[in-house]
């Protein structure tokens, strides 16, 4: 049903001061140097990666925009640099990153570690923000493509046509900048810029239930040449047999080589097309990779990933609610810990005493907990926990909240749409089912090498749960005029008269006799200047 196509580039440049811009885009290079950025990770995503059905993602990102940055220890005012950085990035990527402010920025203590070279992990240098409402479209793709040394004119990037890329179930583009060792001896440091794009195509309806695909069908383009500046340009196709049976699928044209690797705890077989090898373009001028299933698969039972999660809002009504997170560990015999990071906007008032973590009917005490309460209109709630997941278990984490009533100017133009709560982040070292050898980093495909593998028995996974849409109590905005009229009337009429009734002293006046005659006489007396009767 789905295929993930991933394209990666890497180029390396001189350390802390970026000085050569032959490959490294100047806009980013100057930004890194000027603002003291040590590491930058920006992802713009449309859609949601369904881990349960699509398997472990190569690199997941939360729906919307995600930005996390480590600054250099030399930066004195991190908040100011962060603000400036998000504004500049907003301009570079045409995204609403300028909406990142203190109400959606958090400083995680455990979830995000530097991925590149780092000699200190003082988490005060880290900033993390998610904009779940950000819509990603062509205007974000174009600047992203311009960062490539050949643009979208040559190489793999010719496939990236917006009208096909956005006709998909999931689209995630990311930029990762980090410092790495230039060589094995690690005497010099290089900057690495990694641009990743993950797209999920859905051929269910157009393929009449078949799952065959080809580059042309997906991108309506084929590959013709490589970017002249590239030192490596490869297409990997995952052809690992699902179960131990004979191969069920065939790829054409025949790949230049077959690569076996262990990626995310699973043994994978890749058909590799090296675009730089002259053999490939010998027979035909263009490369159109095709994959065909030999026989139709009746049940596409994807193996359920070891770690997956689900999040939802429980309860009904506009006063209170409950955020529930279900975390599944399907490993048959290994328990492992997971770090959960929840960022909840301030207008959902979390009741921390209601936090419960239940596994297999018993309470599960987190071994590490970091909670930073929200401040109204200033910062969000931050909850980080280290939770042990027993083997083959479901862990349910619930926390109740109360919905705040905003000031009437704080509502967006579409208040009845609801308010977004960003995805929560799960980071875990998942024990792998197959034992992993220490692999040569240079040998392994590029997409497997962003996260460091700690040892042979486990691999790092970062998952994001669904964003939530929460309704807040919303006034009827067509009403203010009516309300103002009604309130003024009520105040004027009721308050005035009751105040009158309460404060006046009453005394009964004797009814006057001879009303008309007396009044006439008084009028005349008034004219004469004599006191009235």
């Amino acid at each position: 049903m789905t295929q993930a196509g991933c394209v990666r580039w890497r180029r390396q440049r001189q350390c802390w001061q970026v000085s050569h811009y032959r490959l490294f885009p100047k806009a980013l290079g100057r930004l890194v140097a000027a603002l003291g950025v040590r590491e930058l990770h920006l992802a713009l995503t449309q859609g949601f990666w369904r881990t349960r059905y699509w398997g472990q993602p190569p690199l997941q990102a939360p729906a919307g925009a995600e930005l996390w940055v480590w600054f250099q220890p030399t930066v004195t005012d991190v908040d100011k640099a962060w603000k400036e950085l998000s504004n500049i990035l907003s301009g570079i990527f045409c995204a609403s990153l300028n909406f990142i402010d203190s109400t959606n920025t958090v400083i995680p203590t455990a979830s995000f570690k530097p991925l590149g070279l780092a000699n200190g992990t003082d988490h005060h240098l880290l900033r993390y923000a998610v904009l779940p409402r950000e819509v990603v479209c062509t205007e974000n793709l174009t600047p992203w493509k311009k960062l490539l040394p050949c643009g979208s004119k040559a190489g793999l990037a010719v496939l990236l046509k917006a009208e096909r890329l956005f006709h998909s179930s999931y689209h995630s583009q990311a930029v990762h900048i980090r410092p790495i060792c230039r060589d094995a001896s690690c005497l010099a440091v290089s900057w690495e810029l990694r641009q990743t794009l993950t797209v999920v195509f859905d051929f269910f309806s157009s393929g009449q239930g078949k799952k065959d695909w080809s580059l042309f069908k997906m991108f309506s383009r084929t590959l013709t040449d490589t970017c002249p500046l590239a030192s490596q340009s490869k297409v990997y196709v995952d052809i690992s047999p699902k179960n131990k049976e004979k191969e069920l699928l065939e790829v054409s044209p025949p790949p230049t080589s077959v690569h076996e690797a262990i990626v995310q705890g699973e043994k994978k077989t890749y058909a590799v097309y090296d675009l730089l090898s002259p053999l490939l373009f010998n027979t035909s001028r263009s490369l159109n990779v095709q994959l065909k299933w030999k026989r139709p698969q009746d049940s596409s039972e994807m193996p359920i990933p070891t770690l997956h999660a689900q999040r939802y809002v429980a309860g009904y009504g506009l006063q209170t609610g409950e955020i529930c997170t279900l975390i599944y560990n399907t490993h048959p015999y290994r328990a492992f810990p997971v770090i959960l990071l929840e960022t909840v906007p301030w207008y959902l008032r979390l009741y921390v005493h209601t936090l419960t973590i239940i596994t297999k009917g018993k309470e599960n005490k987190p071994s590490y907990i970091h909670y930073q309460p929200a401040q109204d209109r200033r910062r969000p709630h931050l909850l980080e926990m280290l939770i042990q997941l027993p083997a083959n278990s479901v862990t349910k984490i619930t926390i109740q909240f109360e919905r705040a009533l905003l000031k009437w100017t704080e509502y967006p133009p579409d208040p009845n749409h609801g308010f977004y709560v960003g995805s929560s982040v799960l980071s875990a070292l998942v024990p792998s089912v197959t034992a992993m050898k220490d692999m040569d980093v240079e040998q392994s495909p590029l997409f497997a090498s962003l996260f460091p593998s700690s040892d042979g028995s486990s691999y790092f996974v970062r998952l994001y749960t669904e964003p939530l849409l929460v309704n807040l109590p919303t006034p009827d905005f067509s009403m203010p005029y009516n309300v103002i009229c009604l309130t003024c009337t009520v105040v004027a009429v009721c308050y005035g008269s009751f105040y009158n009734l309460l404060t006046r002293t009453f005394h009964v006046e004797e009814p006057s006799r001879g009303g008309l005659a007396k009044r006439l006489a008084n009028v005349i007396r008034k004219f004469r200047g004599v006191p009235p009767l």
């Binding site: 669904e466 964003p467 009429v493």
Partner: protein
């Protein structure tokens, strides 16, 4: 307000009110009733307020008829083979259609056997498939529901649901996830699914969790269809406790009816011909009367009724196959559903633009809350006018002694209400041991028994009343009037129909009742307007409005059924009618009864 601050004017006003009290009361009551009866004649046309659904054009391209029938036949065959819900087959079929399939088991033991549906221990499985919208993060969803029933009921609806799911899977424009849900045991399954989806337990149902979710459900349609062709589609709006969905959803359905030429009815009645003609008004009044009765009953008028509590706007569409000549194929209904879902898919916010409180004299006209509220307001005015009836008289000397004597009548009538509420269901085991009746019968008979026995209470309370002033009945009546006014005011906001019906029946005896004199006519009036008898009369009236009048015997059977269902609905869905009547209206009425027999 100079009127009030001037003591002379105030006195004159009070005197006028006291002198003209009875005519004013009669006038106010009659004005209230007339206002209500005039509503259908003055109702404006419905209109679509939601811009996202109004101006956007959608084309309906599906032709689901043959596919739906084939699937319905398959479903029916597997249902017969399994002897219940064919869970495996449904899962398989939905999977092949490309949906993400989940099942949700549930079980429920009813408080007493349900004789209308012949069930007591209920065990079932709901099956649902989710169509994930591409490029959306599952934050919003729309839902299509078919409440599966015993026998071959709703088979065609399941067929149409599956055919529509298959069609929608091939489309690219979905911005919200679509949930296709088939529940077992109609409303019980729906309630179980809804509670599991929102992870709450309101009615003590045991259910497995919902393994797949799709965010906040924005709107839902329930489909009931049991024939291969249909002549018209009936729409039901009344939900649990008299809630109704946003008027825009109904207007949307109506606009598609007009567009596709489908014959659409409300309460089984076509919109009357336009113009202020006599028959048009009579038909509108009948339709509105039926809606008021349905809303006052507080039961869900279809599976959609359970969604409203969770702020999910929902409608039930019922395919009707009557003796009309012109028949429609399922494809026509399929296109209507497709169009509605496409328009709902365009929603940017949840439905909130149009009315949430309204009455419908026909499918194309509506009465908003602003128009119908004065009718009940005028009825309530009678109670207020009546409560200062005794003000003009000099206060009785003894009344200063204390109000302790008021306690026994209040406690006794409140206690009778509590007994009426608690005993029938709690005491069914005892009743079945000592009397040769079934549990369901025992509950209903106990209900009637306690109700009638309560009427003998005034005699026993008088024994405990000590130190009561001679004109003490006035204080008691004032109390009863205030309690009734309070109850009706609350009801006016929660469930107008119930409030109005209770007001129209209870206000005249409440205003007229007084001890002494000729007690018999007053006693007859009071007995005629007791909530229990009103319920019986409502059953008769409903048959009359449906143009299928029932005899007394049949009405009695239906009345007994309604009592049982009313009690069950409280336990199964959380309907408020029976506690309201038992703990609110009945004690009020007992107080009035007490006043009548004051010694």
């Amino acid at each position: 307000m100079g009127l009030l601050s001037d003591p002379q004017c105030r006195r004159a006003l009070a005197r006028l009110l006291l002198r003209l009290n009875t005519p004013l009361c009669v006038l106010s009551y009659l004005a209230g009733l007339t206002w209500f009866l005039l509503l259908p004649a003055l109702a404006p046309r419905t209109y679509l307020s939601e811009n996202a659904m109004g101006s956007t054009m959608v084309g309906e391209g599906s032709d689901l008829g043959p596919r739906a029938l084939a699937l319905a036949r398959d479903f029916g065959a597997h249902k017969r083979k399994v002897g219940g819900m064919p869970v495996e087959w449904l899962e398989q079929t939905m999977f092949q259609l490309g949906l993400e399939v989940h099942r949700q088991p549930f079980s429920r033991t009813l408080p007493f056997p349900d004789e209308a549906h012949e069930r007591y221990l209920v065990r079932g499985t709901n099956v649902f498939g989710v169509l994930r919208a591409p490029r959306a993060a599952s934050t919003e969803a729309l839902l299509l529901l078919v409440p599966g029933s015993e026998g071959s009921k709703n088979n065609q609806a399941v067929g149409l649901l599956l055919a529509l799911a298959g069609y929608c899977r091939g489309q690219v424009y979905w911005a919200k996830d679509l949930i296709f849900l088939v529940t077992e045991h109609d409303l019980l399954g729906t309630q179980a699914w809804l509670e599991a989806y929102h992870d709450v337990n309101l009615t003590g149902i045991h259910s497995g969790g919902v393994p797949g979710r799709a965010g906040a459900i924005q709107a839902a349609l329930a489909l009931e269809l049991s024939s291969d062709v249909l002549t018209s589609v009936d729409v039901a709006v009344e939900g649990l406790n008299g809630q109704v969905p946003n008027l825009d959803l109904l207007t949307l359905f109506h606009s598609f009816c007009l567009k596709s030429g489908l014959l659409c009815t409300f309460q089984g009645k076509l919109p009357p011909p336009e113009g202020p003609s006599g028959p048009g008004y009579a038909q509108s009044l009948r339709t509105m009367g039926l809606m008021v009765l349905g809303q006052a009953g507080g039961g869900p008028g279809g599976a959609h009724g359970l969604f409203l509590r969770f702020r999910i706007e929902a409608l039930t569409l019922r395919g009707i196959n009557s003796f009309r000549q012109h028949k429609f194929h399922l494809g026509a209904l399929g296109r209507t559903l497709e169009g509605m879902f496409r328009k709902l898919n365009n929603l940017l916010e949840r439905l909130h633009q149009s009315y949430f409180l309204y009455l419908l004299p026909s499918l194309s006209r509506f009465v908003s809350i602003g128009s119908y509220m004065p009718a009940l307001g005028l009825l309530l005015l009678v109670l207020v006018l009546r409560s200062d009836e005794g003000e003009g008289d000099p206060p009785p000397e003894e009344a200063r002694g204390g109000l302790l004597w008021l306690l026994p009548p209040i406690l006794v009538s409140g206690g009778a209400g509590a007994a009426l509420y608690l005993l029938p269901v709690r005491g069914q085991a005892v009743a079945t041991q000592h009397f040769p009746v079934g549990e369901a019968e025992a509950v209903v008979l106990a209900l009637i028994g306690i109700y009638v026995a309560g009427m003998a209470l005034p005699h026993s309370t008088h024994r405990w009343v000590r130190g009561c002033p001679t004109r003490g009945w006035m204080t008691l009546k004032l109390l009863a009037l205030l309690a009734l006014a309070l109850l009706l005011t609350c009801l006016a906001l929660l469930n107008f129909s119930l409030g109005f019906l209770l007001g129209a029946t209870l206000v005249p005896p409440a205003a007229a009742v007084r001890p002494g004199g000729s007690r018999l006519p007053l006693a007859i009036l009071l007995v005629l307007t007791t909530p229990g008898l009103s319920l019986f009369l409502a059953v008769l009236l409903e048959r009359e409005l449906l143009e299928a009048p029932a005899g007394l015997g049949e009405a009695w059977q239906r009345f007994l059924g309604a009592l049982g269902q009313g009690l069950l609905q409280e336990h199964l869905h959380g309907a408020h009618l029976s506690p309201l009547l038992c703990l609110g209206a009945y004690p009020c009425w007992l107080l009035l009864w007490n006043v009548l027999f004051w010694k």
